[in-house]
Subunit: 153 residues, 2 copies
DNA sequence: TTGGATATATAGCCTTTGCTATGTTATTGT
DNA sequence: ACAATAACATAGCAAAGGCTATATATCCAA
């Protein structure tokens, strides 16, 4: 007997099934865990391409965190096989690191280009893309790419 | 004298300014911290609208987490003034909770509707929207809304 | 009205991602 | 060559967000 004190028939129609919704939330949590790795690898690739070096201090400055935070994270990236380290000359990417960087970078650029294509300012596009990119599935990425290409044509 | 052993002039052109990039990362980290609150409040609103009750077990099931995890989070939501609690009858939203739920829900729906409008399947749209919504700025939201309206017309 | 099922609370633990403070070790300019 | 600077390492702490195990409180049906 609930607040509606009406029939006992099911009226739970406007919500998706619990399991379906749970999957979405689990996926979002999972994505959140991979975000940092992708951010680091992508940033390292950019620094290497641009200046030839990716040192802890540079990474820390660009991410806006302290150097020991970077040091700890780099250990994880080394353990997971994404990067290698040369003492006092920064880090560089392994082959799987390069591959992850390539994929992340491409996705990032597609998202950012898309946002610009619908009229978002470049500054906002950059800010939002940094957060959005990690939650874009391959299917959505493909749709964004196609759309942007259409607009540009 | 670096790997390029060329002039000392600045060639760091393809990267944005460190401070600018840092701001994007900081914004993304900040958004990540508010995600959970928004997820909870939005879900609670949905449960209340749909079944009249939002109990810990329901929330836990839909989020895919354990009940004590929900209990801890609800304490935070109470402390922050978003919800109130009636023993053994679940939680309900305060006025600021309702407002946050309204905003989150609207943003969620705009993102999901937009994804569908560019040809993403409803299942994928639901999954991706759950992650993307928290990283969409007001400016981008407005652009998405406008675009979706155009397509539908 | 009472006993079993259900809902909530609490304790204690883990991991991740931050921080500060403080060594230690290369690099480099003079 | 060597001292100053810069880069890196490490220790120790905190907060957030998970978990399991277990106790307690409420509800409801027989």
């Amino acid at each position: 007997m609930n607040e509606k004190n009406s029939q006992t028939i099911e009226v739970e129609s406007s919500l998706v099934a619990p399991d379906t919704q749970m999957e979405s939330f689990k996926q979002a949590r999972h994505n959140r865990r991979s975000e940092l790795v992708e951010d680091y690898v992508e940033l390292i690739a950019d620094l290497l391409a641009d200046g030839g070096e990716a040192r802890q201090v540079d990474i820390a400055q660009r991410l806006g965190v302290a150097q020991p935070t970077v040091a700890k994270m780099l250990k994880r990236l080394i353990a997971e096989g994404y990067i290698q380290q040369r003492p006092y000359r920064g880090v560089f990417l392994t082959s799987i690191g390069k591959e992850l960087a390539r994929v992340s970078r491409e996705r990032h650029q597609i998202v950012e280009a898309f946002l610009c294509s619908i009229g978002v300012s470049v500054e906002t596009a950059r800010m939002d893309a940094e957060g959005i990119e990690h939650h874009v599935s391959p299917e959505t990425l493909e749709a964004l790419k196609k759309f942007t290409a259409t607009v540009r044509a």
